[in-house]
Amino acid sequence: MLVLPQGLPRQSFSGFVRGSYELTPVRRQDGRKRAEPGGSKFELIDGPRAFGKGIPMKTQSSRAVQAKTKVLTGIQGFDEITDGGLPLGRTSLVMGGPGCGKTVFALQSLVNGAHRSKEAGLFVAFEENTRQIVANAAAFGWDLPALEKKKLFFLDARLSPEVVKAGDFDLIGMLNFLQAKAEDIHAKRIVFDGIDVLLGLLDDPVAERREIYRIRDWLTKMGLTAIITQKVAGFEADQRYSFLQFMVDCVVVLRHQVVDGSAFRNLRVMKYRGSGFSADEFPISLTKDGMELTHRGPPELKYEVTDERISSGLPRLDNMLHGGYHRASNVLISGAPGTAKSTLAGLFAAAACKRGERTLYVSFDEGADQIVRNLRSVGVRLAPHLKSGLLRMYSTRTRGPNVEEQFGDLRNQVRAHKARCLVIDPLSALSTKLAHIASADAAQQFLDFLKGEGITVVNTSLMDGLSTDEATATGISTIADTWIHVSYVVQDGERNRALTIVKSRGTGHSNQVRELELSDQGVTLTDVFIAQGKVLMGVARWEWEQQERAAKKRNQVATVLKRLQLQLAQAEAAARLQVVQTEMEARSSEISVLTHATGSASKLMATDREVLRKMRHADKEVGVARPRKAKVAAPKNGDGAAV
């Protein structure tokens, strides 16, 4: 059954190449090369011809197959899950229902080939007007009109509805024309968009299969990397063209589904010959740059790890974390409403800008201006950084349960701003929407992406209690590297903010609770006191501090008092010493007086004796002595009288 249709292309192609040149040697060479991957009876029969490559240039590309086996599609995420894109020089089938993005997928990879690899391509449209396709793609900014002039060729291969079908037909004419065109522009890639339309016209399973194989053979002969798109209504219902799936080397299935009013587009690689691939279904989104696929990244978690620390913007918090956040880590700041989560995030952003790092601040609850104003009230100034362009505020709304597009949007924002630091305030605005399984791990994938890019992210998350359902509510806390929780402590009629570090991977961290204080002076962390097994905060802490201070004062006073007492004692001792000394002096004086007295007494006695003895001869001595004294005084008076 397979052999029968094969007679056709052989004849027809040889009919065509009759006119051209130098085919035979090339054909033999390539035929030899392609002996091995066959497998089907069909290929064996056909081998030597089907894989001949008409243009000498092509043999080069077939040699390159050994080195490079895949071509990038430029579809973000798809190239990753297939480890390099679509199979080079082979045919891939993209199937899906209406509105899944089949045409976008095909066209985007063609455009990407033209843009990045400078490879020309052909686009054969069986279903849509080529003008419409170009116009529709204008939304993606691929600059199709410019490409169309040199690199891309669009063939409108629709059959008008008025066409009458009178018997069996084939695609030799079209393929012949495409061959001429491909050689003309040196095309490397080709897209057959909406092949089901053409097949439906054949209306004969044998003929359909024959034409598909004809296209396949032609593609192989040309060495083109091809994408065939095919509409399918449902997977069970439409088994009609299932042989297409067996024939091609790679099958990509696109699916569109609505869950609770939210549209989800998904992509799944169903088959990929000779290559590993991720077989899961991945959410896709259509952004302004085209299709994007959210994937979980490589199964092995491999990130560049750095020991670099960056400041949280709060020196005492840095101390608690033994140096700050790790670069490229993701930090979760959770807490009840009003626990200054945004303030901490703002501090981080301001500190990042101060270091000169580009920062993106994404907010969901509030507008950018409001955040800037609020942060200014606690001494965090963002306005200068906004002006310098280092900081970008991006305020947006959550859009619905399908957060894929939201994260895709954020990803684009991050890339566009070339951010090194990111704040998402709050992430829970998104994660509360994660009830759907379809987008359950979207946030995680996004954070994975950030980690891969080396971007440090601070997320805030609205959470009332630490012990309640924090981990299950988002699942984000489990992949957060550092988790800071701010809670209210209500005590003695007060509500105060207590900051704790719940976890911090790869870094020692304080297990202490700190009180977070906000004032127009700024943000500070204060030690808290524990008294009678209770953490004291706010006024209680203040009272405690007062008591502490008073005690200190008392202590000080006591010390002074003691010193004075000692000084007094010392003084007393000194005084006593003085008394003793004085006494000593007194005694010694007494002694000396006594000695003196004793001496003079004896002298007196001697004198007295002398006197007594002299008194016995008193005339001579007294008479001489007394007048002499008077004589001396008399002349003085006499002199005065004499003048």
Binding site: G7, L8, Q11, S12, G15, F16, G19, D156, A157, R158, L159, S160, E162, V163, V164, K165, A166, G167, D168, F169, D170, L171, I172, G173, M174, N176, F177, A180, L198, L201
Partner: protein, 96 residues
């Protein structure tokens, strides 16, 4: 490759074929037979091998082979296939 028979060229046809492909050969045979049988009085059947004239085929918007164009009389008509279905063909050509 024009095949001109009859004095008045009332019916003007152009048949695009692809070399010696079976459908093309059959189409040529069928076209000739039908022209002989139903339009003996006057027809002109041009057979174009698009392997030799790809540009011409493109200008005429030929996607599949064989394709038969009825150029005159109006309305213009386009028939694809090997023309085995004589009834469809005759309706399209206005011969019945």
């Amino acid at each position: 490759m024009a095949d001109l028979r009859g004095k008045k060229a009332r019916l003007l046809l152009r048949l695009y074929v692809a070399g010696n492909a079976p459908n093309s050969l059959r189409a040529v045979a069928n076209a000739r037979a039908i022209c002989e049988e139903h339009f003996a009085s006057g027809h002109e059947l041009e057979i174009v091998d698009l392997l030799e004239h790809p540009r011409r085929a493109l200008a005429d918007g030929i996607i599949v082979t064989p394709t038969l164009l009825k150029l005159s009389p109006l309305p213009a008509q386009r028939v694809i296939g090997n023309l085995n279905d004589t009834n469809e063909l005759l309706v399209a050509l206005g011969g019945k």
